[in-house]
Amino acid sequence: MEALAGEGEWVRKFQSGDAAAFGVIMNHYEPYILSLLTRLAGDRTRAEDLCQETFIKALKGLTSFRSDSSLKTWLFRIAHNTFTDHLRAEGPGTESLEARAEAGIQSAETAKDPQARMEESQVREAVETAMQILPQQQREVMHLFYWGELSVGEIAQAMRLPEGTVKTLLFRGRQALRGHVTGLLSEVTP
């Protein structure tokens, strides 16, 4: 993921009263934040609401933002907190793992064309499906690492976890994903 060019300058412009600078920042980071929230919420409409909330929080926080961490890590942290708060407010059991698993199996069913089974698009589809089956923390760490291109240290900052925990989650996430993808693709093996 590319950092916004002249990021510090945009932040300073915003802090000195240039409202349009926030538009530039949001325009750059919006796809990454929305992508993470879609992955976490599993629902695009809900993800959009959370994304909107994330940027409104960022808007307020940016007035006092100091570049102790990168803007990217900082925004991912707000998104993470927004989602976590949302999850807490909804109460336990809202994340239907069964529904996710079911969706995964269905997707594998539709992928039963042996010819296409090892095509890159097939692997990607299996990856996307398998990601949705992972437990929330593993899914988030995996997404930030591979899709968001954050380092282990940056993920630790964004999720407020020790680096060791991030490494463990990444290790387990990779193993689980491997298992799920193998399962999904082996169903199409003749």
């Binding site: 300058e9 949001m26 919006e30 993800a47 409104i56 006092s64 100091r66 291109e149 993808v181």
Partner: protein
């Protein structure tokens, strides 16, 4: 090379380090590991193939509208004031301590020869400085005089820092 070792190296391999001999061979011949390797490559390439979703224009507009209505003026003022206050506090403490400690160090630790050599250069400057300081001396004998001096020092630096911040916002 067995599957376990292959996967361990695959997981630990960061920053494109060269894998040990036989690793690639195993990846080419073992279907399970070949899939794992392929999966890792697909994942590493995710930023290039992943969808880049966008919020609806209504959602974006709602956020941007907040800039006008959120009353960002006060948070910005508070942030600037806070930043300047911290700076002024540190600067005032440094100035205060140096006035409290430096004269004592001057009399107790600096060798006489050095003092003489220095005073021929810095003497006139120090004299001028002392002239200013002497004016504050009666204040020190008053109740709360020291505190008043500290607060004044803080306010002067705070005002200077805040003015600089407001007039030249590009600087942090």
């Amino acid at each position: 090379m067995n599957c376990q070792k292959f996967l361990r190296i695959l997981d630990e391999r960061v920053n494109g380090e060269a894998p040990p001999q036989g690793w690639a061979d195993h990846g080419a011949t073992c279907p399970n590991c070949a899939l794992a390797l392929r999966l890792e490559r697909t994942l590493r390439a995710a930023p290039s193939w992943a969808e880049r979703p966008r919020m609806s224009s209504a959602a974006r507009a709602a956020v941007l509208k907040r800039i006008q209505s959120a009353g960002l003026f006060w948070p910005r003022v508070v942030a600037m004031a806070e930043e300047s206050a911290v700076r002024a506090l540190v600067a005032a403490a440094v100035v205060f301590l140096s006035f409290a400690v430096l004269p004592r160090l001057w009399y107790t630790t600096v060798p006489e020869g050095f003092k003489k050599a220095l005073s021929s250069y810095a003497g006139p400057l120090l004299e001028g400085f002392r002239g200013t300081l002497v004016q504050f001396q009666p204040l020190l004998h008053q109740n709360w005089g020291l505190l008043l001096l500290g607060v004044t020092l803080f306010m002067v630096i705070f005002a200077a820092s805040l003015s600089t911040r407001v007039l030249r916002p590009g600087r942090t």
